[in-house]
């Protein structure tokens, strides 16, 4: 039985720019939903005859199967008028929604999975960084994450040491703040919004709010899609399929402290749709 806490969270179910007035059938946490563009003038979501709460934000339509006890998280940086807001689209991945988020929180795989783009095999070291569960906002944060990147972004001219901050504000959503090559002092915002379809299938909706006057929208989308398709080849081949919350199942190192905190936070809240609690 799925814990109610995860039903009460918000999830992305489509791009606002891509909704169909006739409705599109999908799933959320294993339950059937239908997503409508403008059935009653505004986007709406139905499930088994019920009308679900919706929010239009960050280029996506959001909904919840339960009774959300808090508003959708905010990303104040995304409101900056000079940022380019990039609707990347959707990538369906045959993996646990929680594994998809955990992979997004990891920099140690860059040299091997995103070789010569986000990382280089000659610079694999992950130096110590700071991780905390911020109780006041109930979010996981990792800060001072530094990593050498051959091509950190579409707008990066060459190799730079990039600084990252990671934030998990909802069980299947992560926000990345990273050094912005053309605007020192500002952070590019890259998000991973995951729609959990079942415990081992998800639709991933990456979204970005960048300072980039040079690259075309098409190039920005292609760059992000290239990166995520490289991740998909990993995500669909991890065993077990569901994210193990039993510490004996896998072997974390210091580089994995963000994922350790994420798993602890999931466990604390009973956010276990897509997780494996004990070795079977």
């Amino acid at each position: 039985m799925m814990p109610n806490t995860m039903r009460d969270a918000w999830y992305p179910v489509g791009l606002l720019s891509g909704l169909s007035d006739d409705g599109k059938d999908s799933q959320l946490l294993g339950e059937p939903i239908s997503v409508f563009g403008a059935k009653n003038g505004r986007p709406s979501v139905e499930s088994a005859g019920r009308t679900l709460p919706v929010v239009e934000r960050f280029g996506h339509l959001w909904t919840s199967l339960g009774s959300p006890n808090k508003d959708l998280f905010t990303i104040p940086e995304a409101d900056h008028p000079e940022r380019k807001l990039v609707d990347v689209g959707v990538v369906r991945v045959k993996c646990s929604p929680l594994r998809a988020v955990e992979n997004f929180l990891d920099v140690a795989h860059f040299p091997f999975v995103h070789t010569d783009i986000l990382g280089a095999e000659s610079h694999p070291e992950v130096s110590d960084y700071k991780v905390e569960i911020r109780d006041d906002v109930d979010e996981v944060w990792a800060t001072k994450v530094e990593f050498f990147q051959p091509q950190a972004a579409k707008s990066a001219g060459g190799g730079i040491t990039t600084e990252y901050m990671y934030r998990v504000p909802a069980p299947t959503c992560a926000v990345l703040y990273k050094t912005c090559p053309p605007r020192p002092g500002e952070w590019d915002v890259i998000t991973l919004f995951v729609q959990p379809l079942t415990e081992d299938l998800c639709d991933v909706w990456p979204w970005m709010a960048l300072f980039d006057d040079e690259s075309s929208m098409t190039d920005l989308i292609h760059f992000q899609q290239l990166i995520f398709l490289q991740d998909r080849s990993i995500l669909e081949n991890q065993l077990p399929k569901r994210l193990p919350l039993d510490p004996a199942m896998e072997t974390p190192t210091r580089a994995d402290l963000t994922s350790v905190a994420y798993r602890r936070w999931l466990k604390r809240h009973n956010y276990t749709f897509g997780a494996q609690l004990v070795a079977e």
């Binding site: 091997f112 694999p124 081949n237 199942m249």
Partner: protein, 227 residues
């Protein structure tokens, strides 16, 4: 301690719970070139079979102990196998030698990828979770030709060839040629087959054996479907 590593969906891959001291055919030797790794299966679950740069053959569980990535997607350099996810490097004894994210750390001896026993005879790669007392069965005058998966049972395959099963194998003729079918059940309804034929067959004869094997698959799967 006997860690058991589930691969999900009720399928189990065991690292230390090795009770099977039985040689199981898992691949055609010639299919695994030096410096490559391929996925294969034991009845207990998925394994990774790899050949080092110098041509030595190794096998281990198909799961990196770090984040569960399949090691058969990894890469071989020299006498080591590395995981494609974070580059964790494993030696021929299965022990982790290097964690690239922490270059100055010596990995603890406890981190390993579950090495298996391997042997090669008749151009066949055999693997065993526990070291068997005897070498694998040898079939004089035969050489591995190809492998195939049949969605059926050994009994149905034996029935389709009018043969009996001896030591997990069937001796029969395929395409007019002598053939031995080594069988490794992968579950209640799936059998990995490795076909041995006479060495030095010409191309036409090899193709005839191969076609007859595929016909056998259709026949065995139809028998099973009708049951």
């Amino acid at each position: 301690m006997t860690p058991v590593n589930p691969v999900g969906d009720g399928t189990y891959w065991t690292m230390a719970a090795k009770t099977d001291a039985q040689w199981v055919p898992v691949a055609v030797s010639a299919d695994i070139l030096a410096g490559t790794v391929v996925p294969a299966r034991l009845p207990t679950g998925p394994i990774a079979v790899w050949r080092s740069a110098t041509g030595n053959l190794y096998a281990n569980g198909d799961r990196c102990p770090h984040r569960g990535m399949r090691l058969s997607h990894g890469f071989v350099r020299g006498e080591t196998l590395s995981c494609i996810y974070h580059g964790w490097r494993f030696g021929t004894d299965g022990a982790c030698q290097k964690i690239p994210a922490h270059p100055s750390v010596t990995p603890p001896k406890t981190i390993n990828c579950g090495p298996l026993h391997v042997a090669e005879t008749n151009g066949v790669v055999w693997a065993a979770a526990k070291e068997p007392a005897e070498p694998p069965q040898f079939y004089p005058g035969y050489e591995a030709l190809r492998s195939l998966v049949i969605v059926s049972t050994p009994a149905a395959i034996a029935a389709a060839t009018n043969a009996t099963i001896i030591d997990g194998a069937i001796q029969t003729t395929l395409g007019g040629q002598d053939a031995v079918l080594l069988m490794s059940p992968q579950g209640p309804q799936e059998v990995f087959i490795l076909v041995l034929a006479r060495p030095n067959l010409n191309l036409a004869d090899r193709l005839a054996v191969s076609s007859a094997l595929e016909a056998l698959r259709r026949s065995a799967e139809a028998v099973e479907g009708a049951a």
